[in-house]
């Protein structure tokens, strides 16, 4: 089963600390949502509120259109997959997976059969009579997943479930989660602080910081068209260049920067139409900086000295010191074929259409 979820102005305060500040969000049935943010941003608190383990100070959670305010976790159509698995140590895998069905008064034989089917889904049918302590981390993870899915919830909440796994296993589990989610169509809300994980699995990413939603959208949109400086910085490496809007003509804006004037279209201003005279911050992803012009749309940003360069497989990750603004160290991902020499100078090019310009005041927060 599956259901849509609506969060209405959820606020949660602990003593004098505001963990969540009027968070509103609409989630469609069958969506894979990732709540992304640094620790302490309120994402886990929000998940606990959706699951019913915490009551919001104000605001409402609606699941399938129904107000959940007075519904305890045991009756909510939600289940949770916990970070530390939280498997029942004294029960076999079969009993673990069928526990929710047992609570729903399903007979022993029937729920055992159902549990075996779910264990089969994650390749653990042969271990059904084992206890959790006999399993590896990845296997426990899978048991925790199917245990939560066995009761056929409308909504599955995943609280940093892959945090304890090594990199390779994490990638593998991400693929499995995504595949299983597509297969069963249940709405998933997944909490993580790893932006690569978020981009790998999410239909939609919700970036959170300091108890508010900073940005929300498809992985590609939120990476390429961030609407806040926090989102731009949290989604990956980015160069911030301060500037000031000095003129506007036919919806094209002239921005004065240390590298000289840049002409940007309205598309660059993802946070809304700016006014002439506003301070702005240009955001350029390292991979958008290029050494040579292979495309007429690119313009020279600056001439810079190569400080260092590391080959990381898909690209050279290098630090550049612009000649006319040495204090503004740039990070660039140069193509594999680039000839780079530390100490040498190159002309750095950028396509103005790739530049995002955001209001400056939030910089540094």
């Amino acid at each position: 089963m599956t259901a849509n979820v609506t969060l209405q102005k959820i606020t949660k305060t602990f003593a004098d600390f505001t963990a969540l500040n009027e968070v509103s969000l609409d989630i469609e049935a069958g969506e894979f949502i990732v709540l992304l943010g640094p620790s302490g941003c309120g994402k886990s608190t929000l998940l606990s509120i959706i699951g019913g383990f915490l009551a919001p100070t104000s605001g409402k959670v609606l699941i399938g259109g129904e107000d959940m305010s007075s519904v305890p976790p045991s009756i909510r159509p939600t289940t949770t997959m916990f970070q530390d698995y939280a498997l029942f140590p004294h029960m076999t895998l079969r009993d673990n997976v069928s526990f929710g069905l047992r609570m729903r008064k399903m007979g022993r034989a029937e729920r055992g059969k159902k549990a075996d089917e779910f264990l089969d889904m994650v390749g653990l049918k042969a271990s059904a009579s084992r206890k959790p302590h006999e399993l590896s981390g990845g296997q426990r993870q899978r048991v925790a997943l199917v245990r939560a899915l066995a009761v056929n919830p409308d909504l599955l909440l995943l609280d940093e479930p892959l945090g304890a796994l090594d990199m390779k296993l994490r990638r593998q589990m991400q693929d499995e989660l995504k595949t299983i989610q597509r297969e069963i169509g249940t709405t998933f809300i997944h909490v993580t602080h790893d932006q690569e994980e978020a981009m790998a699995i999410a239909d939609r990413i919700v970036v959170m910081n300091d108890g508010v939603i900073e940005g929300c959208g498809k992985p590609a949109d939120i990476y390429m068209y961030p609407q806040s400086i926090f989102t731009a910085g949290f989604m990956g490496e980015v160069n911030f260049i301060p500037g000031k809007i000095v003129a506007e003509q036919d919806k094209r804006f002239q921005v004065e920067t240390v590298f000289g004037p840049m002409h940007l279209s309205l598309n660059s201003f993802t946070a809304g139409t700016p006014n002439v005279g506003d301070e702005t911050t240009l955001c350029i992803r390292p991979e958008q900086l290029r050494p040579i012009s292979d495309n007429t749309e690119r313009v020279t940003l600056c001439r810079a000295q190569v400080v260092d360069g590391a080959f990381v497989g898909t690209h050279f990750r290098c630090h550049l010191k612009p000649e006319n603004a040495p204090e503004l160290m740039l990070i660039a991902h140069m193509p594999q074929s680039t000839q780079l020499k530390a100490g040498g100078t190159i002309d750095v090019l950028v396509n103005p259409a790739d530049i995002i310009a955001l209001p400056s005041k939030a910089l540094g927060s």
Binding site: G51, F53, P72, P73, S74, I75, T78, T79, T80, F82, D84, A86, L87, F88, P89, H90, F99, G100, M103, R104, H133, R147, A148, V151
Partner: protein, 264 residues
């Protein structure tokens, strides 16, 4: 590099300390087989007649049965109460948690004699007649703090998340406690139970002061001793020791060794 002298010394120390602890018991057990009237040297030879006499003594046998019943029942009650108290204090916000914890463990510091006298006064005052039940109540009083402390110490935050998962899957509070928490804590609950059984099993003062016609084994042994030393008392003493040892081995094999299995 070990100096032979220091090796000799440490072996000597090893032998001395265990002789000090176990020699009296060894002597007790040895003279329970004494073929003679007095359990004192010289050792005349081996006989099982004192054991036969013990098993033929209906008073001793009923006292042994009483002891086992009181130990088992009072330990079950102490464990259930101790578990409930620990669960409540560990999982819910209660007024004065620290104070309640102290209140629950405080009887451990009071001498059994004082507890027995206090209970005696209360029973007299309320008109409750002395019996094996009153002895059992006394044993619950002394074992509850122990059970509470052992079980409370084993309740951690790790189990909290597991309990949360059970609730999330549809279990109510009672189901969580019975199906999840208690089985998870079974090693420490059993440890508390067996320790409580051994304490109740050889407790004398409370049993002596709070019993009347039916008595427990230590009280019966005491009345035997009043008529002088006799290899029969050695035999019953050896049996008591055997039962304690067996429960200790059970505790070690099935509980302490199984610990740590659920971690990680």
């Amino acid at each position: 590099m070990r100096n032979p002298l220091s090796a000799l010394f440490s072996w000597g120390y090893f032998v001395a300390i265990y002789s000090f602890i176990f020699l009296p018991i060894a002597v007790l057990v040895l003279f329970s087989f004494q073929d003679g009237r007095l359990p004192i040297p010289p050792f005349n030879g081996v006989t099982f007649k004192w054991y036969a006499e013990v098993f033929a003594d209906s008073r001793l046998m009923s006292a042994l049965g009483n002891s086992l019943t009181v130990a088992a029942l009072s330990s079950v009650i102490a464990c259930v109460l101790g578990f409930c108290a620990a669960y409540g204090l560990a999982r819910y916000r209660l007024p004065g948690t620290a104070f309640q914890r102290i209140l629950l463990t405080a009887p451990m510091t009071v001498s059994y004699l004082i507890i027995a006298l206090g209970l005696l006064v209360v029973f007299n005052w309320t008109g409750i007649r002395l019996s094996l039940w009153t002895v059992g109540i006394g044993h619950v009083v002394i074992n509850l703090p122990l059970c509470f402390a052992i079980i409370y110490a084993s309740m951690g935050d790790h189990q909290k998340n597991i309990e949360r998962a059970a609730r999330d899957l549809g279990a109510n509070s009672f189901q969580v406690m019975v199906l999840i928490t208690a089985p998870m804590l079974m090693p420490s609950i059993l440890a508390a139970f067996f320790l409580s059984v051994t304490f109740s099993w050889d407790e004398f003062i409370i049993s002596f002061l709070l019993s009347r016609f039916d008595v427990t084994l230590p009280v019966e042994i005491w009345s035997l001793l009043r008529s002088g030393l006799n290899p029969k008392t050695n035999a019953i003493g050896s049996l008591v020791f055997l039962i304690s040892i067996v429960s200790l081995i059970v505790l070690e094999l099935f509980i302490f060794r199984g610990r740590g299995k659920y971690d990680g």
